[in-house]
């Protein structure tokens, strides 16, 4: 944790105090966090930071920062990673991954190299495959079921500390 605090402090040495005994209420804005080397080139960096921040605007206090790294570490259990991954992909934060969420995900993944017809086709196919209760959107249960079949889910880890 001291190492993480060091990293946190590096991001904004003026604001972050070294001494946390009084529990100061310090939050770093999102612009600083997404410039960290681990996240800089990640297309989902905005969503990752928003998923872990308490006010959903992307401002992370130190506790949120530690949360983020603990969930994205290698020792976090699968269910926890699944919960946060779902939050990351849910762009409109309505607790469902609907078709527009999927389209945004695909665009970010492929950097707009797919044609719109292909995007639509992929989204339809994904919903068809993963949606179990037939409401046209992916609830968390659907997402978790699909993820549990994929062993490569461990890719949701940042570099280890």
């Amino acid at each position: 944790i001291c190492r993480l605090h060091g990293r946190y402090h590096e991001l904004a040495p003026n604001i972050v105090p070294m001494d946390y005994t009084n529990e100061p209420d310090v939050k770093l804005p999102i612009q600083l966090i997404i410039n960290m080397p681990e996240l800089k080139e990640n297309p989902f960096k905005q969503r990752i930071v928003e998923a872990f921040s308490e006010d959903s605007q992307g401002n992370l206090s130190f506790n949120d920062f530690v949360d983020m790294f603990s969930v994205l570490s290698e020792t976090a259990p699968r269910e926890l990673k699944a919960i946060y991954a779902f939050k990351i992909y849910d762009f409109n934060t309505d607790n469902y991954i609907c078709k527009s969420d999927l389209e945004k995900t695909l665009t970010k993944l492929t950097r707009e190299e797919l044609t719109p017809e292909e995007v639509t086709l992929v989204c339809e196919k994904v919903i068809e495959e993963a949606d179990l209760d037939g409401d046209g959107k992916l609830a968390f249960a659907d997402f978790e079921n699909m993820i549990s079949r994929a062993p490569d889910f461990l890719r949701y880890t940042l570099v280890r500390y």
């Binding site: 080397p37 681990e38 800089k40 080139e41 990640n42 297309p43 989902f44 308490e54 506790n63 949120d64 530690v66 949360d67 603990s70 976090a76 259990p77 926890l80 946060y84 779902f86 992909y89 409109n92 934060t93 309505d94 607790n95 469902y96 609907c98 999927l102 995900t105 695909l106 993944l109 492929t110 950097r111 190299e113 797919l114 292909e118 992929v122 196919k125 994904v126 495959e129 993963a130 179990l132 209760d133 037939g134 409401d135 046209g136 609830a139 968390f140 249960a141 997402f143 699909m146 549990s148 079949r149 994929a150 062993p151 490569d152 890719r155 949701y156 880890t157 940042l158 570099v159 280890r160």
Partner: protein
Amino acid sequence: YDESSARNSFHHLLQEPDRSTRESYESIEMQDELDRGRVEVRGPDSPPPEGPYLCEYDDVFCPHTLNVLSAMPSRTIGRSRGAIISQYYNRTLKLRRKKSRPTLQNMPRSSRPSIRECDWEPGVMKDEEEERRRLLTKELQVLSSNQRVRMLQMMPLSLREKRDLHVCCNERECRNRLHEKGEIHCCSQIKYSLIKGFRHSWFEFLSFLHMLQLWHYPLKQIGGRFGTSVLSYFIFLKTLLLFSVFLFIGNLFFIVVPQAVYPPVDHHNNQTFTGLELFTGAGYFTDTVLYYGYYSNSTLTEQCSVNANSTQCAKDLSHTLPYNLPLAYIFTIGVAFFITCIALVYSMSKSFGDSYRVNSASGDLAVKVFCSWDFKVIQKRSIKVQSDNICTQLKELLADLQRKSSPMSLRKRFGKIVIEFFAWMLALGSVLGCTFAVYRCSILLLENYNDKLSQNTMLKEASLLALPLMVSSINLLMPYVYNAMRILERDESPEIQLYAAICRNLLLKMTVLGMLCYHWLVQVTRQPQKCWETFVGQELYRFVIMDFIFIILDTIFGELVWRIISETWLKSKRKPEFDIARNVLELIYGQTLAWLGVLFCPLLAGIQIIKLILIFYIKKTSLVMNCQSPRKPWRASHMTTLFITLLCFPSFLGAAVSISYTIWWMKPSEECGPFRTLTTIYESGKVWVRRLEKSNPRFYWFSWIHRHLVENPLVIFTAAGILLIVIYFHAEVVDGQRKIIRLLREQIANEGEDKKFLINKLQDSYKKINSSPGKRASRE
């Protein structure tokens, strides 16, 4: 939840005609998009708005309905802290009561099997968050500390809250204990502080060890630049290194060091050291600790020098510790192989459990969308490559789907089968041809070696290198040929191409190795030679060294030279790719050679260690300088399982079978080695047991066990029978699980239909309530 009562309450609604579900679904979505802002701001737990609302339009939902919808459990899960706490309270309760699976008798035989009684805990549905927290803490305390830690880890709360919960639990525990004992003894306080201090230092040590982990930083670098797939090759290399280290340490301490400290008296090494020995392993190295022939067959004690008196010698013998070298030799190797076997099977089953799931049928596209982004990759260039990869893979999958939806004509399918057949015939033919060539060459070389004894010794030694040279060059060139044969199979999916290439490569290597084993164990022993074991050990040493040289050559020519050529002549920006499958198979081949040779050359494990370390650094440097990230799709954990299985089954099993054959059936040579005077190596164990029995009558039970359990074939049959029964049992369990999964899926689909139905009915009923006073108001 009683189905009949629910049906009764909706009975009057069932009389009315239903709306079509499609329409309602669209209207729900539209309503979501229109009113999302309003719903979000209000929050899930706020009270409903007052007053009647006019629901004028048919396709717009009333705010009442929207309120109910927004409070649905599926929407609030993961959002509000209260919901999370109550969910995990239910889970810990279930864990405590261990009601994980319903018994089959309770499942009614209807088209909708309802196992709801498992999930429904109507106990605590209070609104107070504090109340829920208190209950959760109470439940957590009942669990054992391991389970508690795991449950806390799984909860999606922030770390601060988890720590608070943890502290709360501990507090209560302490308080309970206080109540019981009345006061804290000073001794127990000291004990607690000691335990705390010890645990703290233990965690510090563990984190230090974690940083010390072998190659921690280089692996991080490789993963960041090339992704998980190339990283899996290097992790596999590390695993092999660990196996070799284990083997080597065992050999070193129990066999090599005792023999080195008490060298056999009658061996005089009269050969000089020339540079060729490093490659051929013969010459100066023949009579050293390196090979089997050097080891003595008696108990090692302090050697009496020739000049000393016999009486002095006898006196010394009583002080020294006798060390039975033949026994140590066979036991060390046996135990090392046994432990390696167990470790391999364990890692294989763990990897298998990680990568395969019951009934993982379709769903490739969804998985690819969500799981293929590698979060470890950091560099900008690599990320661009990765997104291009994913794009290509998605396009391929779409093309695949389109192809599946339009089946091929009969003529095309027939053509494809013919081409497949032709390709496999070609591959098999090449394998047989290579094996036959190795056979002829080996016979020829052996005759050459034994006939012309008067020739120049240097040339004779060098001619021994011809066989390893030939085998290694076959192993190098043929995989390229097989890769080129992929042109024939252009129409197949890339995964099938990959599996076919791996299969052919593996077949070639294993057949050649099998032929070599036959050559060593059957043909070489027929030759008139002083010490056939040493000769076989030397051959294996040569093979290992030659394999290493060829890997270096392959890296240099395959990657460095190719990159230079493609940059200067062809002027393309495409660097060569790192072929993971071929490299892993080469590693497996090298490891098989090492395992085969350990019996005849105990230090071969050490040579393998040096070789693996050097390969790691060479490959890493070449990778960073010359290669690009792989373009083809690669399911890392799936392939890792495959490679560990290949390491276990053809490779380790083959080595173990050869070694067992050598130990049980082969006659050791008369003049050298620790098993000189026996008929088989295994006999040394038997001899020892009998000697033990004779010397001390108390050991009778030990020899009785040995005679009736180890030598009795009935025991082996019984063990095999039990194993088969266990396997059958597990297969049946998996089958049953598949059936339950299918039933549950049907149930989920039905529940979805129910949900849509209920939402529609809710909407209708609200509209009826609101429209009647509205109509009255408008009338008035």
